[in-house]
Symmetry: C2
Subunit: 333 residues, 2 copies
């Protein structure tokens, strides 16, 4: 009697990108062996404007179906691996597409959206962003929205939220939540990076942290070394458990600087706000030399192995942990 065991490569997942999409970037995803990417589809868009972004993605799936596929379940990552493609999962960095209507949460989930930030830097209808002076925590609508997101399987993402709001979201949510793209503040103090208290609460509740390579989130900025980045991850693994960690590069490849302006001020201000940048450093910062695009994930893998973490821990961080999270998080409660 023979026992057949299917040996499957561990998935490689980047849980946050917002590139100026092109066939060339999708080809780089394939070259880099990236099996799934969670892509941001809106920053400040209304529901109707968000639908236009979904339409644009449908065209990408139609014209580049040899390279990418629409992903809505963890099984789609497996299917992408089996067919040599990259599964694309949708997310919002702002709850603007649900407007003031709780019914739009299920509609967005039915349209394939799987992550939604409750805030993007500013106060939203749901919670407080990390750039506000006062953090008043979850709003009345925010609590109802989290319950509905829990019900349908839309993941709460608090990457751009303030601390109290984040802690309340972790507490209020009946399912683990995510911080898809940020780093620990103990490594690099930045408004967008997260306190030890937040990261402990997040991971203790089964939540996931995706490490960002957006230079403003890095110790030393664009000059940050691979070794420093990976040592920080190893330290986070020892503090919070490697199984709660993943990658969320925040790669914004090929975007013009007008896009970082849209991210920062949308339509809410007539005055430019430099966010994490400054008047003299207003555009997208240059990426570190060891992570320019989707072909560079092996640098991170090798860097993580060099810290002494086990292959199992590194495989988890490079994608298996997000894959497990997808399986638990994307279906109905």
């Amino acid at each position: 009697m023979h026992v057949f065991v299917a040996v499957m490569k561990t998935p490689l997942i980047d849980n946050l990108q917002y590139c100026n999409w092109s066939r060339s970037i999708f080809e780089q995803m394939r070259e880099g062996g990236v099996d799934a990417v969670h892509v941001t589809i809106v920053y400040h868009e209304s529901f109707r404007e968000m639908v236009l972004q979904l339409e644009a993605w449908n065209r990408w799936f139609e014209t580049c179906g040899d390279l990418i596929m629409r992903g809505t379940t963890a099984q789609d990552v497996t299917r992408a691996m089996e067919t040599g493609r990259t599964a694309i999962f949708f997310g919002f960095q702002n709850p603007s597409p649900i407007e003031d209507d709780i019914g739009l949460i299920e509609i967005c989930h039915q349209l394939g959206v799987r992550f939604m930030q409750l805030t993007y830097n500013n106060q939203s209808l749901l919670a407080t962003g990390c750039y506000e002076d006062e953090d008043t925590g979850l709003t009345r609508f925010g609590k109802q929205a989290i319950a509905e997101m829990n019900r349908v399987g839309l993941v709460v993402d608090m990457s751009h939220s303030a601390d109290r709001s984040t802690l309340e979201a972790i507490d209020h949510s009946t399912r683990p939540i995510a911080i898809t793209h940020a780093n620990p503040a103990w490594w690099h103090a930045a408004k967008r990076n997260k306190s030890h208290e937040v990261l402990s609460a997040l991971t203790s509740a089964g939540g996931m942290l995706g490490f960002s390579i957006y230079p403003h989130h890095l110790s030393g900025g664009p000059a940050c070394t691979l070794q420093s980045f990976c040592q920080m991850i190893a330290e986070a693994a020892s503090k919070y458990g490697a199984e709660h960690l993943g990658i969320g590069t925040d790669l914004c490849q090929d975007q013009p600087d007008s896009v970082v302006e849209w991210m920062r001020v949308g339509r809410w201000s007539k005055v430019i706000d430099y966010g994490e940048g400054s008047a003299t450093d207003a555009g997208f910062p240059p990426m570190p030399t060891w992570f320019k695009d989707n072909r560079d994930f092996d640098n991170i893998r090798q860097g993580l192995l060099a810290t002494g973490m086990t292959t199992g821990e590194v495989n988890g961080i490079m994608g298996a942990n997000w894959h497990r999270f997808y399986a638990d998080a994307f279906g109905p409660a």
Copy 2:
């Protein structure tokens, strides 16, 4: 050795209803053993307004999930039968929700919509309705829209379209189309009933006709007898083949007369148009005594058997034909 054969009851499908939905109507569907219903969700609504209708249906699925379920595939009819529920499929009577944007066709399909009329009585951006003086056939957008509907699996429905437009749609479509709710003009001459030429072309191309019980489509109106209705169906079976026939009652139960006004004039006229009614008969006409609601489908089944059609033919007309059509029509080309 035993051979197990799963014996499944033939599905009962009504391929057009637009009721004032309530738990009580869903209970009547269960009492009547109705396994699937194609429901109209819009007449003149924009995309954004259509989404509000989907939200309302999501609430029905949440609060009445013991009686009904959202249907998007033929397998959902089987699943509904196995779980003692009625599968609800969505359709538009007007292409207004796709506005002037071909990309919205796939979005609507992703939202679960499975039938779309190219016109509702009037000229649309796609084709000509059956109440216009001039029928100019498919428009440029209409031809592109049909190709896209064919690609994604959104069924072309020509129930309210004019003859030339209908013949051109049958010809232009690479997949069989439907007339979900109408009767032959040779039985009852009405603008909404269909010529022999149209019905021959429709069924020769593998398309489906659903027989309407809306009184203005019946010979004799509300006084039409069950025998006359069933005899007409038997005659249509001999002309067009029983396998191309089904039911599409057009049941508008519990609707106030304001709704028939909305159907007829939407926002396109400030002057009332009586459609198939008249100034003295402006509201919803009373239904025939033998079909008041979803509990009365067995009257039709018995009436069809009384014409001498075989049980197989009758089972087909009562639902198996629509079930087969769903299996062929709802997926990607």
